[in-house]
Symmetry: C2
DNA sequence: AGTTATATATATCAGGCCAATATAAGGTAT
DNA sequence: ATACCTTATATTGGCCTGATATATATAACT
């Protein structure tokens, strides 16, 4: 699924400029499941306009450069309905944090603690952004996707908080109340 | 973090060919958090060999073409330890399934039901792959990352099963045993 | 009043990366 | 027999990201 299709989808929810489409991927409804940059959005909109799947109207603004507001045409609407029937790519999750976690023992003391703190903070911020992102149209599909994002972020935060000790080597430990005779055997996953 | 660094990381866990590195991203330890294709791995290994961060030895095999087995050098080891200290990119989750879910009302009847079934099946397969992927070295970092993957997949499956009704419009319903007087009010997320 | 930062808004480009494809050989199921 | 899968390496077209450039306005500091 290329950026052209993603743009058609966003425009299905209402007219928008390239800048506003970008914001939908950066902060808005799709921020936790999709990404697209200016370098792909602007060419995609030009192609879509050439193919008459969208139309563009210039809106003058006092002082600022003209806004180019794009709207879906009937053909664009039909094209999008067809596009979402095609086979979907498998989900991709890309996490440099997890990659580095594998090599936790190579990091200097307390560095992993900082990374985990950062990771939890980021997850909380993203969850908050989902909560506060309200589209003008609030459909069942939108609620479903927002709910998914929140559940997943909550699960990630919970796992990090409960299991961070596995990869942290704290050089300033609290004095242990009891010295365990043996470590419990490690569960092989 | 580019593919060169990812290759150094994989080689940190043991010698490997380009093909085996690719498998680590496709099925193995990193399959649920990273991706890299042949088109980036082979050039990356050539660059690393030029820069003396890895060395390559040819291994003859009866019949089949020679294997090129790569090993980390001391310089490569040092380079990797430095690389994982740099700022990490934010996690990215890309899901065409979630994107399409927003537009569930545009799909023909029962299509979303198929998509959800597929999605759950895929999640279960990926969770199983994590369970069965055992590296020769089983460190705390590896267990942490595997555990994360399993928790996240389990959370996704649970959410899909409990909330799929929100986006499904079933045109061939079972005869209800009881007719509920009212649907419970939708929880606004 | 001046400076800095942020937001709106469009556009381009180098370089990185994926998906597809080519090549080659052997095993395995039909 | 033959079609297909697996092991392996390699290349290429084209898409996409990340960075950068341009222009303007507003808000917040100094």
């Amino acid at each position: 699924m290329d950026v052209k299709t993603l743009c058609l989808g966003v425009l299905h929810l209402g007219d928008a400029t390239g800048y506003e489409i970008r914001k939908m991927f950066e902060q808005g409804l799709f921020s936790h499941c999709l990404e697209a940059s200016f370098g792909s959005i602007y060419p995609a909109l030009n192609r879509l306009a050439e193919d008459r799947l969208v139309v563009c109207r210039d809106e003058r603004q006092n002082g600022r450069p003209d806004k180019k507001v794009y709207s879906l045409t009937a053909e664009g609407r039909a094209e999008f309905s067809q596009a979402i029937l095609k086979d979907l790519a498998e989900d991709k999750y890309r996490s440099e944090f997890l990659f580095v976690s594998v090599f936790a023992d190579l990091l200097p003391p307390n560095h992993m603690t900082e990374l985990v703190d950062q990771q939890i903070a980021t997850m909380k911020r993203l969850a908050d952004e989902i909560t506060s992102s309200s589209a003008e149209t609030n459909t069942a599909g939108i609620r479903f996707v927002q709910g998914f994002g929140q559940v997943m972020h909550a699960a990630a935060i919970k796992y990090l908080e409960e299991n961070r000790h596995l990869i942290e080597k704290d050089l300033t430990p609290e004095i242990p109340l009891e010295t365990p005779a043996d470590s419990p055997p490690l569960r092989t996953i």
